[in-house]
Amino acid sequence: MCGIVGLLVKNQKMRANIGGLMLPMLIGMTERGPDSAGLAIFGAPVDNSERKFSLYCASPEFDWAKLSVDLNNGLKADAKVEVKVNHAVVTTNTSPESVKAWLNEHYPQVHLLSVGQLMDIYKDTGTPAQVASRYDFSKLSGSHLVGHTRMATESAITPSHAHPFTAGEDWCLVHNGSLSNAHSIRRKLEHEGISFETDNDTEAACRFLQWRMREGDDLKTALEHGFEELDGFYTLLMGTKDQLALVRDPFACKPAIVAEHDDYVAIASEFRSLAHLPDIKNAKVFEPAPKEMYVWKL
């Protein structure tokens, strides 16, 4: 199983409370995904010259203050580090390549979850309620988000195996389903110079789309290639800097339901996660068709 949720808030006033609106959505998907949860939130952009890096370290005793000092000394940078438990968001105008290389060399135990100007990622093991409370999801503000609750079926339960995965700046993906050819996709992509962080099947789908977009595909064309290449069951929900996008496999093996309202667009695996949303009775509720791409823009 697994549960997916997505929320794009059109009403400017409601954006300050996107975390509060989302929380019951994520918790509503607990039965579908009780072992891990994750969230990508698109908030206020950093300065044009800067990037945000979402970092994670498994050790709860990890010294983030030291990393901050070492990073600024090592890269002659002026990075700001905001710590939330064992996650941190680093904001700096140092180039992503330099930061990645520096982290790899000096802090290999720290995972780089995402890079971008708007997107922060949090993901961890535990029930959705536990993860949400650990990282204060209810207090998040922003324009849109993508969330996931995981019931692992094909690889280990670790924070790195939790969703969302990223494939480029301000770009993330969550997946409900399972891919039967993830390993062959991986072998193919490794020859193309794409590197993997986990043995998770969703990461294979994510890297496949990353590779297609690197080769010049737009998202729609990349997903059309995905329909040919990805073998298995999937509902994929993607977030970019200004849109959410959804596809379901040709057999619609995995569920999805959408509520379109004047104030918001909400997406979930099941209606249970939409029932609490304000004025849901007046939303247009529908099931997305298989093998079609749905896009909602800000």
Binding site: A252, R272, V285, F286, E287
Partner: protein, 230 residues
């Protein structure tokens, strides 16, 4: 007629379902309204009494599954497997229904006013299903008995490996499944269609606008020419 109301935001679903399994003396002739269903799974499953149930909103998976005798109305949409394995009675979904609506159902009438998802009526064994909108791919897959009436369009592989169920379609069919073919509308089939249209609130729809589909029966017996396909 006495009405009993349960609010699913206040009463646990298990309590509501247990009440719906009370003795016939308690339930017969009553209307039970369930408010704030919120997409919960397994609402009003396994009913056996002559009771009217109104689900006032969207239902989750397997709503009114295994229904016998009871009359269940879902005012909103229904999740996967609505009225699956129904034996008798009536289930009416006023919105859309997700995948596998009426799967394996053996009797009764399932009416869906909106669209139905994929695999509608899969392995149906005697139920009558009327869909006011369109159905998704692989509908009536291995359908054995009963009637599936589709007022809109049908997706891919309609009626694949069909046995003796009838399929009536008014709109376009994306493709027919193996062994499913167009049949001449005989008087018996036409009368069944007229009756089902009337019972499902579509008496104004012209029965002559439908195409009848049935089994070509070429898969019923082993044929040596097909050996390579196994």
């Amino acid at each position: 007629m006495e009405t009993v109301t349960f609010d699913l935001e206040k009463t646990p679903l298990r309590e509501v379902n247990q009440y719906l399994h009370s003795d016939a003396a308690e339930l017969d002739g009553k209307t039970v309204t369930i408010t704030n269903p919120g997409g919960a799974h397994n609402i009003a499953v396994g009913l056996k009494a002559d009771v009217d149930v109104v689900i006032d909103g969207h239902a989750g998976y397997y709503a009114a599954g295994m229904n016998q005798v009871a009359n269940v109305v879902i005012e909103g949409s229904a999740g996967t497997g609505v009225a699956e394995n129904m034996m008798s009675g009536r289930v009416h979904v006023k919105g859309f229904a997700s995948n596998a609506a009426g799967a394996t159902a053996q009797g009764g009438l399932l009416v869906i006013d909106g669209d139905a998802g994929l695999r509608c009526g899969i392995s149906m064994k005697g139920v009558d299903i009327v869909v006011g909108g369109s159905v998704g791919s692989f509908s009536a897959f291995m359908a054995q008995a009963g009637n599936l009436v589709i007022l809109g369009d049908a997706g891919e592989a309609l009626g694949d490996s069909l046995y003796e169920a009838r399929i009536f379609v008014r709109g376009n069919i994306q493709s027919l499944g193996a062994d499913c073919e167009v049949k001449p509308m005989d008087e018996e089939a036409r009368q069944i269609l007229v009756k089902l249209l009337k019972e499902s609130g579509h008496a104004d729809v012209d029965p002559d606008s439908f195409t009848l589909l049935g089994s070509a029966r070429t898969l019923y017996n082993f044929h040596v020419d097909n050996a390579g396909a196994y």
